[in-house]
């Protein structure tokens, strides 16, 4: 590099070399990072296929002497996995549907309808986004107890059906729909309800999908609510079940890791199939907030 660069084409080469160097360094950094991201998952898979005698060995090996599928078969027997899986699916679907309905309706009101105090009410929704759930823990617990809903899956559903963040997200999407569309429908005699169902809802499918993915991941992975609101074995969700299992079978890492693997599958599958929408959603949430 320190050689005299009097020749004409040298600066060009230098730049190209630099660009390739940058690309190579970037690629190496990304590969190292990706390995660090993946190792825990690979270790989870590896352990889930090991016999107990292969688990506690030093140095650790990625493959045991035999591949043991029994861990996966034992999952249901030890944990009532299917029951918990069903509970989690039920809660997630109910919260998802509820949030989509309430969020799109509120978003529609805040963007299309004109009424006095609209901006003030919307500002209250924004304030509500900021409130951490931890300050509401005790009163929510007491409220659900008084409603006789503790220990039922509804304790995880009802408080989560309304999301101020969802309303905010949908409102932002609806703001970009031209008013003329709604006005035209209005002249044709469409009621706001009709405008909402026939124009706004179909046009906001991508944003609704983004909201659905966020809600799905958050609800599926929620731990604090189940921990506080549920206590009977029959009503457990997956995260709570795994947590409880850790105490009971803390040494049987094979079965534990098989359970963890199965509990991750739905989220991972959904993520991989709608990866682009998901990434877009993250970017939007980052820019708009």
């Amino acid at each position: 590099m320190t050689v005299n660069s009097n020749t004409l084409h040298r600066p060009f080469n230098k730049r190209r070399l630099k660009k390739n160097l940058g690309l190579t360094v970037s690629f190496i950094i990304l590969v190292i990072g990706a390995i660090a991201m993946l190792i825990p998952f690979l270790w989870m898979l590896s352990t889930s296929l090991k016999d107990l005698s292969d688990t506690f060995v030093y140095p650790p090996k990625f493959f045991g002497k035999t591949i043991v599928w029994e861990n996966y078969a034992n999952v249901n027997e030890r944990l009532n996995f299917l029951g918990m899986f069903g509970n989690t699916v039920f809660v997630t679907v109910m919260v998802l549907v509820g949030q989509i309905i309430t969020s799109t309706m509120a978003g529609f009101a805040f963007s299309y309808l004109n009424f006095r105090g609209r901006e003030h009410i919307f500002r209250l929704y924004l304030l509500a986004i900021m409130i951490p759930f931890h300050v509401l823990l005790v009163p929510t617990f007491v409220l659900l107890r008084d409603m006789r809903m503790l220990n039922s899956l509804w304790a995880l559903i009802l408080p989560c059906v309304v999301s101020p963040f969802g309303a905010f997200l949908m409102r932002q999407a609806y703001m970009s729909i031209p008013r003329a569309l709604g006005e035209a429908a209005k002249i044709d005699g469409c009621s706001p309800w009709k405008i909402y169902t026939a124009i706004f809802l179909p046009l906001s499918v991508p944003t609704m999908t983004t909201l659905a993915i966020f809600t799905f991941v958050a609800t599926w992975n929620d731990f604090l609510r189940p921990l506080i609101f549920l206590s009977s074995n029959k009503q457990m969700t997956l995260t709570l079940g795994i947590y409880a299992m850790q105490g009971n079978y803390s040494t049987d890492w094979g079965v534990l890791m098989a359970t963890v693997t199965l509990s991750l599958l739905p989220v991972v599958i959904v993520f991989l199939s709608v990866q682009d929408l998901f990434v877009e959603g993250v970017a939007i949430s980052g820019m708009k907030s």
């Binding site: 990072g33 931890h134 009163p139």
Partner: protein, 292 residues
């Protein structure tokens, strides 16, 4: 005119009713109720006696609370800078034409979408002193790994590592979106002026990325203040509270010691911190725009 307005009011009420009822019952009412409970000595079953600000004063005298505060702050001070530097580095590496971009994106995002409880369990197994993967990998570098989860120092470090590992991809994705929003013209102009390398980073990329960086910083701080799942699963706050954090203590006060009043007061301390942080972000952002 008034007729139209009335009509819109009717529809507004109809469309907002579900979400307003939900917010009133499950956010507003609990919020007010929590403020009131925090001023009492309520223990879930016994009487509710008004004690004024005693719970709040106690929070700053209680040795456990002080430990928990300092652990939370230490956790935040260590993880947030890492959660800014590493994701920015990775986002800059990923922000160019190269093979496997989609693979990298998916890989870095995988921990983010997976449940913290599940991830914590995997890491707990990897932290095992004798058979764990972490100490085995360290042994290649000639390092004798510590007994992570039973050492008062390393327990919190272990929690920090898991937390950084999990949120890295999310911040990276936000940075990437921010980087891609920077118009290419700036870089082209810089190229013509012979401005390259680090100077490009400090003169163009970082200044233009400021709103993104500010947002990620505030988000990361808020998330760090609320860390809970990994503490609960991996260490349970131990050994001897060395890895216990604010939300963990709130949970214990309310649902293990049944000191509802005190639990609510600690919750309010957290809420006020978060409120102030968000307001700071808004203020700084506004300042930014007014300059432009």
């Amino acid at each position: 005119m008034t007729n139209i307005r009335n009509k819109d009011w009717f529809w507004a009420v109809l469309f907002l009713l579900p979400s307003i009822v939900g917010l009133a019952v499950f956010t507003l009412y609990p919020l007010i109720s929590s403020a009131y409970i925090s001023l009492t000595d309520w223990g879930l079953l016994g009487d509710m006696n008004f004690v004024g600000f005693d719970n709040y004063i106690h929070a700053f005298k209680d040795a456990t609370a002080l430990t928990v505060f300092s652990n939370t702050i230490l956790f935040t001070v260590v993880t947030v800078p890492v959660l800014l530097a590493l994701p920015l580095l990775l986002a800059m590496a990923l922000n160019r034409k190269m093979p496997m971009t989609r693979f990298f994106r998916a890989t870095y995002f995988l921990p983010t979408i997976s449940s913290m409880v599940a991830m914590s369990l995997i890491w707990q197994w990897m932290y095992n002193r004798d058979f764990g993967l972490v100490n085995y990998i360290l042994s290649f570098a000639g390092i004798q790994g510590p007994n992570w989860l039973t050492s008062p120092f390393y327990a919190l470090v272990a929690i920090m590592i898991v937390s950084v590992w999990k949120s890295l991809g999310y911040n990276m994705m936000l940075f990437l979106a921010g980087l891609q929003a920077i118009p290419r013209v700036y870089y082209e102009a810089a190229d013509l002026d012979g401005c390259t390398g680090l100077r490009r980073l400090f003169r163009i990329t970082l200044p233009l990325l400021r709103p993104t960086t500010l947002f990620i910083t505030v988000m990361s701080i808020i998330n760090s203040l609320q860390v809970f799942d990994q503490v609960m699963v991996i260490t349970g706050g131990g050994p001897s509270r060395s890895s216990s954090v604010l939300v963990h203590y709130i949970y214990q006060c309310a649902f293990q010691y049944y000191e509802m009043g005190y639990g609510c007061a600690l919750g309010w301390v957290l809420a006020i911190f978060i409120f102030l942080l968000t307001m700071t972000q808004f203020a700084l952002n506004k300042e930014e725009y007014s300059i432009e």
